[in-house]
Symmetry: C2
Subunit: 209 residues, 2 copies
């Protein structure tokens, strides 16, 4: 299965224009789009083929409100950890699209799954979580290729999310995703545009051994 230069250029553009989206339009996703994206996410690699990803679509208004309240509390606690100009900058950031994104998807890892017969997880049980992360990233890229944006919300207490969504006790929270059409498109991270942080050259992250 060969790929050509035009595809590689477009793939590179996709990686450049993928964003962690926090500002969404309110129009709904097309019928069936979310389930289709979830099916695509399941093409991701998983350790020992254990497919530990568990997707929870969140539509119930009461659960959505509880998650929004949880984010507000966790975000206020995080804000209290900054001082001076950094605190002002933090307060000015928009860090979640929970009010506007038409779709919300909470994603968990089931480390207890018997699927895959434990292969590849003996010394690194966290590999199951990593498999779920590649599924989220797969969904993210496939969504962006359709013009759909995704924002990964991590300013949440994992145990509280699990309680709000009433999921099996053995599931481990990986991320809460806001999904919808982005209010704007950009090839630069919003945190970079806001002056929070800049990107570093790749070479700084490489050691030779």
């Amino acid at each position: 299965m060969p790929f050509d230069d035009a595809f590689r250029d477009d793939l590179r553009a996709l990686l450049h224009w993928r964003r962690d989206v926090r500002r969404f339009r309110r129009d709904p996703l097309p019928e069936g789009a979310l389930d289709r994206l979830i099916a695509t996410a399941c093409l991701a690699p998983s350790v020992g083929l254990c497919q530990p990803w568990r997707f929870v679509t969140v539509d119930d208004p009461a659960r959505r409100a509880a998650l929004r309240d949880l984010f507000a509390r966790c975000n206020a606690e995080a804000a209290a950890g900054y001082a001076g100009e950094r605190a002002e900058r933090y307060a000015a950031l928009k860090l979640a699209g929970l009010d506007d994104a038409p779709a919300q998807l909470s994603v968990f890892a089931d480390r207890s799954t018997a699927v895959g017969h434990g292969l590849g997880r003996r010394t690194m049980p966290e590999m199951a979580d990593y498999s779920v992360v590649t599924a989220i990233h797969t969904l993210w890229l496939a969504a962006r290729a359709e013009g759909i944006g995704l924002g990964w919300v991590s300013i949440l207490d994992p145990a509280a999310v699990a309680r709000i969504l009433d999921v099996p006790a053995e599931w481990r929270f990986i991320g809460h995703l806001c999904i919808g059409y982005p209010a704007e498109e950009a090839d630069t991270p919003e945190l970079e545009r806001a002056g929070w942080e800049r990107r570093h050259p790749a070479g700084e992250a490489v050691l030779r051994r």
Copy 2:
């Protein structure tokens, strides 16, 4: 930045034909290919833009031999955990390309980084590790688009890998990657072809809330 149907079809094909490769040809990668792929990996999302990925290219024969020995030991311990027909099947699997892959890359997460000012990591410090996983997955897809295969080796003791590679104590091992041209191409995981496990329908992994 719009993408068209032809790109989406090719992206889907890329996801279908990406494999966890364990059988490599020995020809080297083109000059500069690995550094180019690492630079592409740095386009991945990272929590708070903290870019916690640390890449260690492993070329020293003694370190490579030590990693191969470590894999052999960890794999023997894992094999001892299976019985009967499952043990026979495990023994028949090829689980790493450490002998043949021309390039080896060990990837770590630096949770201690000040970059990103801690944003998004207060309740979930593991988000730094997840950012590194998306960088690995980005590298994986970009490599596959060039016909280059990647195999993620997790049957390793993380502390021993860190010792062998002499990396800073605060770095956390995420994965050891074998990279090179695959001996074969397939649209089905090797573990599925070997009868170890099968893929489950996406719908089985979805809850509605």
